[in-house]
């Protein structure tokens, strides 16, 4: 699993990258009450706003971690945003994207580097 400074995690699954937010991010945000996911098929560029999440406290944007195409989104978290607090690094992933060049992930933090980053 790889991590961004925006507190997203990325996991390679075949030729796709699964993206979600970290336990740390979910904890900081507090109870999440609303999620808006991008349309499947949307082409995104790195740092483009792709997901809106709102907790009881505030709204936050989730940025695309890489250039690519959104191929699948996790609809159940739209119906039950609380799942993001329960299992952010598992069941409550946000979207899967197809990226041109998987080597772009090499620049991201590994788990140890992310742990240092948030401590």
């Amino acid at each position: 699993m790889k991590f961004t400074e925006e507190h997203e995690w990325l996991l390679v699954e075949g030729d796709l990258v699964v993206v979600g937010i970290t336990n740390h991010a979910a904890e900081q945000l507090g109870d999440i009450v609303f999620v808006e996911l991008p349309d499947e098929g949307r082409e995104v560029t790195k740092d483009e706003e792709v997901v809106v999440i709102e907790s009881v406290k505030a709204a936050s944007d989730i940025l695309a971690p890489l250039d690519g195409e959104i191929v699948e989104v996790n609809e159940p978290i739209v119906e039950e945003p609380g799942k993001i607090n329960e299992d952010p690094e598992g069941e409550a992933w946000f979207f899967k994207m197809k990226v041109e060049d998987l080597s772009a992930l090499d620049d991201l933090m590994d788990e140890k580097a992310y742990k240092d980053f948030i401590s």
Binding site: G30, D31, V33, F34, E36, E54, V56, V78, P81, N85
Partner: protein, 382 residues
């Protein structure tokens, strides 16, 4: 400007309440609020804290609020020159909601006034307390009235349907109190000033307790399995669902009590043709708006879908084009309503319950309906 007055980026030192250590010990996440370091949530989190208060009992530290004692001759009449409510007719042992107005008829702060026999006990908002005390001193001291801001008492609120049962274990007399009654009662060995009131829409009590006894009182209330400590996050969602105004958001110096839907708090005796009509700052505007209706009104708002509409969201009367008709002043997710809820001000023509409006969220107009307040029925014991 002298050297010492230069602006710096240094954070200002936050004040603490006497319960500060207890908040930390209970795992609270602390934030700056009105100059105080206060708990925004504990380990349960905002959602569960909110629901716990609606279902059982929640304990809130509201010691940052200003507790003020007024004493002196012709006290009620003198205070009526600052607030448009009936103070003279407030019976001993009763409390009433009020607001300070300015010359333009806007609201400078909202407050509670209790008649405690030989004095009035006033509770004002934390962010306004210095200004409120200055206002009362300027107006009341020349008439021989003393205005004392208490630094030696904490204030806690126990709110929720089980609040009475919990507090009655410490002091059975609370069972006989009705909504807005005030009494001096011994609780956990201290002389407490108790009122049956609060700001969550639930039944409950607000307890002024000497600082020296506050930690013991709170620990003993929290030792009851029915009670959880509740932070400012849930306090905000509870009062929003209850349709109650937050000063600085839903009320401000430009907003009149009539626009704010608070005319109910201006008793007949203080309205035009009443025995003690007017005589407070801005009475002319308030009376005119009561007679003719205000240009804009505070309303409840139920956004469609799940996206919260927060303070600042602009409201329109059409999905495309149309006119800007108002804005949200408080909004978020209502845990008991299980959906987004908001309040805001809209043009009078759009203020009827059921009116379809649109709020602009991230560049998109999202439908929202004018709704009845409160969003949840009040649990007061009248």
């Amino acid at each position: 400007m002298g050297e010492g007055e230069r602006m710096t980026d240094e954070p200002t030192e936050l004040k603490t309440t006497v319960l500060n250590e207890l908040h930390h010990a209970r795992g609270a996440k602390m934030v700056g609020f009105a100059g105080y370091e206060m708990p925004v949530q504990y380990k349960l989190g905002v959602l569960k804290e909110h629901l716990h208060t609606r279902n059982k009992a929640g304990l809130f530290d509201v010691s940052h609020m200003g507790q003020v004692i007024l004493r002196g001759p012709n006290l009620a009449e003198a205070l009526e020159r600052l607030v448009p409510v009936d103070v003279a007719g407030l019976a001993e042992g009763r409390q009433r909601y009020a607001f300070f107005t300015n010359d333009a008829g806007g609201i400078e702060d909202d407050l509670m006034i209790a008649n405690r026999g030989d004095h009035l006990f006033v509770v004002v908002n934390a962010a306004c307390k210095e200004a409120d005390v200055a206002r009362m001193r300027a107006a009341l001291e020349p008439g021989g009235i003393t205005v004392k801001l208490l630094e030696n008492r904490a204030l806690v609120a126990l709110q929720g349907p089980e609040a009475e049962d919990v507090l009655a274990e410490h002091c059975p007399a609370v069972r006989d109190m009705r909504f807005m009654d005030v009494e001096t009662l011994p609780i956990a060995g201290a002389e407490c000033w108790v009122s049956r009131s609060g700001y969550t829409g639930e039944d409950g009590f607000e307890i002024s307790v000497p600082n020296v006894a506050a930690v013991d009182l709170v620990k003993s209330l929290l030792s009851d399995a029915r009670v959880e400590p509740i932070g400012l996050g849930a306090r905000d969602s509870l009062r929003l669902e209850a349709g109650l105004c937050l000063y600085g958001q839903d009320l401000d110096p430009g907003t009149s009590p009539v626009e704010a839907g608070l005319t109910w708090a201006i008793q007949k005796v203080r309205r035009a043709d009443g025995a003690r009509a007017g005589g407070y700052p801005g009475a002319e505007r308030v009376e005119r708006e009561i007679a003719e209706g205000p240009a804009r009104k505070r309303v409840g708002l139920r956004p469609e879908g799940r996206a919260p509409m927060r303070a600042g969201v602009v409201l329109y009367d059409a999905e495309e084009g149309g006119a800007e008709v108002g804005a949200v002043t408080s909004g978020g997710f209502g845990p008991s309503v299980e959906g987004p809820v908001a309040m805001g001000y809209v043009s009078a023509r759009c203020a009827t319950e059921g009116t379809a409006l649109w709020g602009e969220l991230r560049g998109k107009r999202v439908p929202v309906r004018v709704a009845k307040l409160p969003f949840v029925p009040a649990g007061f014991k009248r």
